[in-house]
């Protein structure tokens, strides 16, 4: 079994070096999903973090600002 290249000779006949040649569109779709998904996750995570921080700061804000 081979995912791509089985011999380096003759090297001039080799074009694509990466494995699974021909699946670039599929990898593009996966990468787009990962990219968008990361933004969504990051924004949700950040919102949750700020909600938590805001609740912890209730009543402690003056102390936090003064650095005590």
């Amino acid at each position: 079994m081979s995912t791509g290249i089985e011999s380096w000779t003759p090297v001039k006949e080799i074009t694509t070096l990466s494995p699974f040649a021909g699946s670039e569109v599929l990898f593009t779709i996966i990468a787009v999903v990962v990219w968008i998904g990361w933004h969504v996750w990051q924004i949700k995570s950040e919102n949750n973090a700020y909600d938590e921080q805001t609740s912890k700061l209730q009543g402690n804000l003056s102390k936090a600002i003064s650095g005590d």
Partner: protein, 446 residues
Amino acid sequence: MGYDMSIEISALNEIFVEFYYWITVPLMFLIHVGFCLYEVSISRAKNHIHTLMKNAMLVPMVTITMFLFGFWIYFAGQGPFGDFAGGSTGLPWDATMGSNFSDHIMGVFWAAFLLFSWTAASIVSGAVIERIRTGAFLILAVLVGSVTWMIDAAWGWSAGGWMVTDWGYHDAYASGVIHGICGGAALGILAVLGPRIGKFAPDGTPRDIPPQNPWFAVIGLFIIYTGFWGFYAACNVPIINFDGLWTATTIYGTPTTLSTITYNFLMSLAGGLMAGYMLSKGDSFWTFSGGLGGIIAASAGNDLYHPLQAFLIGIVGVWVAYKLHYWVERKFKIDDAVGAIAVHGYAGSFGVIICGFMLWGYPALADGSATITPWGQIGGAIIMFFVLGFIPTFIVAKILNAMGVLRIPREVELAGLDYIDDQASAADGQAIVNAEMAEANASSSL
């Protein structure tokens, strides 16, 4: 069989060009290192880590989007409304966008453009510190780094771009296509985001929020200067046969020399430093920012200026940027934490416009089919700063603001973005000390 020396020379030239661009990439990496150091140093201690992470995470977000569609925009968007049927160059599945023996150089070109993209997003990053949410910033970073700057590069930083072929737009080292657009983009966000709490007194008088570490901020700017060398180098074709003369050319294919740009880079830096020092009476922040502003102001025409012209343009550009910064700050209550709009936006736009007067009548393209003019440059500066800079980020920032995800909560801003994490770290540290003390007491009682 005869020995064909021309084949070897041709191969050597190709290897030299590939290596030349490859070297520019790690040099340009220093720009981002400098921006990180500079931005963190300008922020207050209570916001350091958040500021660092916001800037650092633009790197992967802009990188993946530059691979997915940013580079394709450059090749597909040469006309005013694009030329999207123009082939697959730059698309993620194109043969040149991967490990392929049929192409040895595209990845290095991509990296050079990518490093410009990081710079573009990083310029915006500094202006908005201490109150923007990381998630919102990263969306805006993708917008600037992988979309709008790539459109402006397609339009005005390519021999085939319509602004070059139709208007004779000339911007050899990106006064407008990087700095002008990013200054405009920062202003568009800040107009929606608003100033940091306490920046303006109740009567509207601006207060100075001094850098936490002015010394490190200056080191950051020094590192940016160094990286800027790589940027200048990457803007050239290093050696090419131009009408029988072996010389360097700009991205437009017009001739220059490495000597010219070396003179002019350093002379415009000198002019900017002197102007910044004089205007601010020796303030380190404005002096070093002035050095950067001087280079940016002269960059549009630094392929052709005389060194003394670059020097004087650097001085005037920084004077314009400095005066505009404080006028806009007072008039519109814009809190630009690092002076990015001034150093990049105003100095860059000035640089584009003055280039139109200095190089009036010069051929904008190698074949002489377009000519540099003041009106072409003024139109270009407006497109860079307002049309592709200000307007897109203003609209997206408005949308993010309406969704409630643009600005951090007031309580978090007052306490500091790192406050809760710092408290948790302090508690963890104390718990460790307590545990160690208990262990020591137990050992001594044995």
